[in-house]
C-alpha cells in the first residue's frame, strides 16, 4: 500500500495543525472552482482514451458526442467526476510546497496529473471489463471509484504529512 511507516507518536496529528486546516480549506475551494468549468476538452480526451483502450481489448466502440461513447452497444457519458480533474485540483493545495520554486511545484503537479490521468483510465477500463463480464455497474465503477479515491487519499496523506512535518 501507499501508506508510509511513520512514527505517529512523535508528531502532532495534522488535523490539529493550522497549516493543514488552511490547506484543507483550499481543497474545498479548488474543488468547488473545478465544477465551475465544463472541462469539455478533458472529458473528450478521457472518453477518447477509454474508447481506444476498449477498442484494443476487442470491444465494439463508437463515438457518439464529445463526452458520450458507445461500447458494446451501451452508451457511456463521461462527466467531470469521471476525469479525476476534481481530485487533481483538490490535491494541489495539499501537494504545494511553499519552500520550493513555482517551476518545481508546477513540474511536480504535472507529474501528478499524468499519474492521476493514468490511474483514472485504469480504473475506468477495469470498470468496463467487469461490467461486460456481468458485474453490476454500481459495483464495477462506483465501488472501484471509491477505492481509487482512497488510493489517492493515502498518497496525499503521506505527502501532506511529510510537508507539514518538515515545516
Amino acid at each position: 500500500m501507499l501508506h508510509a511507516k511513520l512514527d505517529l507518536a512523535a508528531i502532532r496529528m495534522p488535523w490539529l495543525n493550522r497549516e493543514f486546516l488552511l490547506r484543507a480549506s483550499f481543497v474545498a475551494l479548488f474543488v468547488l472552482l473545478t465544477y465551475q468549468f465544463p472541462w469539455r476538452w478533458l472529458r473528450f480526451v478521457t472518453s477518447a482514451a477509454v474508447l481506444r483502450i476498449s477498442s484494443s481489448l476487442g470491444m465494439a466502440t463508437a463515438r457518439v458526442s464529445f463526452d458520450t461513447i458507445r461500447i458494446q452497444g451501451q452508451l457511456f457519458r463521461v462527466v467531470i467526476a469521471c476525469t479525476f480533474v476534481d481530485v487533481f485540483m483538490g490535491s494541489i493545495p495539499l501537494l504545494w510546497d511553499v519552500r520550493k520554486s513555482l517551476l518545481r511545484n508546477a513540474s511536480r503537479l504535472l507529474a501528478v496529473a499524468v499519474i492521476f490521468f493514468g490511474l483514472n483510465l485504469v480504473r475506468l477500463e477495469i470498470a468496463q471489463v467487469l461490467y461486460f463480464r456481468g458485474v453490476p455497474w454500481t459495483l464495477a465503477d462506483e465501488v472501484l471509484g471509491g477505492f481509487a479515491y482512497f488510493a489517492v487519499w493515502l498518497f496525499l496523506w503521506r505527502r501532506t504529512w511529510r510537508l507539514l512535518r518538515e515545516v
Partner: protein, 224 residues
C-alpha cells in the same frame, strides 16, 4: 461597333481622367475594414452589416487618410437598432425520454430594446422527432436578454440526431442580423451510464477512510 481611340495618347488621357474622377480604380478591389460599432461592408454598394439608416446604408469606397492609394469600404449612415441571437449547445447532447435545454441570448446593437419572440423547429429524419415548445419571449432592456429552449423526447421519439432551429422576430417583425440559429440533439433509447464517481464511490471512500483511521488510532495507541 465600338470606337477605339485613334491615337494611343488619347487612350492614356481617358484612363487618366477616370483615375482622377473616381476613387475606385478600375480593376482595383475595395478592401473592407470594420468601422465604428462594428459596421462593415464587403464591397462598395453592398449592404452594411448590421444595417444602417439613411444614405449610408450601403457601403461606400473611401480613401484611407494616411494611405490615399488604398481604398476602404465604409458604412457611414447612423446605426439602426438591431440584435443578434446566440444559442448555447443543447445539453445533454443525448436524450432518452428527458429534456435537453439551451440558453438563447439576445445581444442588442445600437441601443436596441424591446420584445423578441422566438419559435423553434426540429428537423431531421427519422420520425417521430422530439418536440420543442416555442421559447418564452425575451425583453431586451439593457443590452441583452435570455430565454430557455427546451427540447423533449418521449418514448415514441425515433432514435437519431436532430437539428433544432430557433427563429426570432422583434416587435417590428425584423429577424436578427445573424439569422436563425441551430443546435443538435440526439435521441437514444439505449440507457446510457454515467461514468465516474457517484454517491456510492463517496460512501466506499468514507468507509475505507473510517477503517483506515481506526487502524491508525489503534496502532498509535499500541505504540504508545
Amino acid at each position: 461597333m465600338q470606337r477605339t481611340p485613334t491615337h494611343p495618347a488619347l487612350g492614356f488621357l481617358v484612363l487618366g481622367a477616370l483615375l482622377v474622377s473616381s476613387p475606385t480604380t478600375p480593376g482595383q478591389s475595395c478592401s473592407f475594414k470594420p468601422v465604428l460599432q462594428g459596421r462593415v461592408c464587403t464591397k462598395p454598394g453592398a449592404p452594411c452589416k448590421p444595417p444602417t439608416v439613411g444614405s449610408g446604408n450601403v457601403g461606400k469606397c473611401t480613401t484611407e487618410g494616411l494611405h490615399p492609394e488604398e481604398l476602404a469600404c465604409e458604412c457611414q449612415g447612423s446605426p439602426t437598432p438591431s440584435y443578434n441571437i446566440t444559442l448555447s449547445p443543447l445539453s445533454p447532447t443525448y436524450i432518452d425520454t428527458d429534456v435537453a435545454t439551451s440558453t438563447i441570448t439576445v445581444i442588442a446593437f445600437n441601443g436596441f430594446t424591446g420584445k423578441v419572440d422566438f419559435s423553434c423547429t426540429v428537423s431531421g429524419v427519422p420520425h417521430p422527432a422530439p418536440s420543442c415548445a416555442n421559447p418564452a419571449s425575451a425583453t431586451v432592456t439593457n443590452g441583452s436578454a435570455t430565454s430557455l429552449l427546451r427540447v423533449s423526447a418521449s418514448t415514441s421519439a425515433a432514435e437519431g440526431t436532430y437539428t433544432v432551429t430557433v427563429n426570432a422576430v422583434d416587435g417590428h417583425g425584423r429577424p436578427p442580423d445573424n439569422g436563425s440559429q441551430s443546435s443538435t440533439v440526439s435521441v437514444s433509447h439505449v440507457r446510457w451510464i454515467l461514468m465516474g464517481g457517484g454517491r456510492i464511490s463517496l460512501l466506499t471512500f468514507v468507509a475505507l477512510l473510517a477503517l483506515w483511521s481506526v487502524r491508525l488510532l489503534w496502532r498509535d495507541k499500541r505504540d504508545a
